[in-house]
């Protein structure tokens, strides 16, 4: 009687669980996390913020810190989840997104990247002040042109990287997690059972 009772419980629970699995597989696999991604283009830093289900983090606070932790500037993302600013200081930047309700993410830009961008903008400024009537292209100008076109060409790749950054959990991880839970169940049953056996042995003695 007891045994039958247990097996029906198990059957029912499995049924319930499978139905949930079916519901969930029919929906796109989505996650719940917020992500900020930032890259340097010329002398401007662009950021893009989104939840990992692809929804943009609109009107969220973005804070920019230098490596000592002092706040350089702050702003809000627009309705595409984007926020851009001119490089405020030639140092490694830490960009913090605060999407509210306890959702927070950060992105670091290393000093080398900023320095590079900074040197370009300085060249640009120097170039502007010098006489524009110059038939041949100087080394700096060529470099600048290459940088510009590279930035432009690389933009779609950077976009692709942001997309891949925000991928939700894969089916492997989901099934794996469920497997862990059932493994833990086995461990729990084992220990409960051992305690019960020990008590039974004691009672017999």
């Amino acid at each position: 009687m007891e045994k039958r009772h247990n097996s029906t419980i198990m059957y029912l629970l499995i049924l319930f669980f499978v139905s949930i699995l079916i519901i969930f597989t029919s929906l796109p696999v989505l996650a719940h996390k917020v992500i900020i991604f930032a890259w340097v283009e010329g002398d401007t830093v662009f950021t893009e913020s989104k939840f990992s289900d692809g929804k943009k983090a609109i009107n969220s606070q973005v804070l920019v810190f230098d490596k000592e932790g002092t706040q350089l500037l702050e702003g809000k993302t627009n309705n595409k989840g984007e926020f851009s600013f001119k490089i405020p200081k030639l140092t490694a930047l830490r960009i913090l997104l605060n999407a509210g309700m306890g959702h927070k993410a950060e992105w670091k830009i290393p000093e080398s990247e900023i320095k590079e961008a900074g040197s370009i903008s300085e060249i640009k400024r120097a170039g502007e002040s010098s006489q524009p009537i110059n038939v041949g292209l100087s080394k700096e100008e060529i470099k600048e042109l290459i940088e510009e076109s590279l930035d432009r060409k690389l933009r779609p790749i950077i976009r692709m990287m942001t997309e891949s950054q925000s991928k939700g959990p894969s089916i492997n991880e989901i099934i794996g997690g469920i497997g862990y839970i059932f493994g833990l169940m086995g461990v729990a049953i084992y220990f409960k059972n051992r305690g019960k056996r020990r008590r039974e042995v004691k009672n017999e003695n």
Binding site: L30, V34, I174
Partner: protein, 205 residues
Amino acid sequence: MHISEGVLSAPVLITGAALAAVGISVGLKKMDYEKIPQVAVLSSAFFVASLIHVPIGPSSVHLILNGINGLLLGWMCFPSILVALALQAILFQFGGITVLGINTMNMALPGVICYYLFSRLVNRERGLISLAAAFSCGLLSVFFSGILVALSLLFTEQSFMSVAKLIVVAHLPIMIIEGIITLFCVAFLHRVKPELLGGIYGKTT
């Protein structure tokens, strides 16, 4: 509703973890041999539920299922939710390890509260009253979770009322959906496996 890592200050984290530890130890004490599989199944349901997003409303929200967890497990929903949240943190990077305590607290305590509020009505009554109680159980557990999240953000976000309002409004569709899910689960269990719900049905058999 997972709070990310690095949002909360240490005292809040420690308080949350301590309260969660109390709940977990009570839950483990109450967990007997026959309940273990049920805890595991509801834990996996909770684990998977966070991947089901509801694309209604202003923010990124997902199913929680803490109502049905609490209703069927009582205090045992603490260990159930802890395991699910730990795996979500490890595999999906939802929440995090340091915020595990407070997140468990925020999700499981409403479950326990709803267990005490509604399990009698769900179990003892028949027909409409039972179903209405099940619906309110699913709805209110999400509502209480929202309030608890707002409370834990109290020390970082300043204004409690605005955060609470934001969270509750964002989760309104989820509340209704969870209410309906809980209602259907209870209706299904009443018909097929009333022993799981305890109460008069369980005792007479």
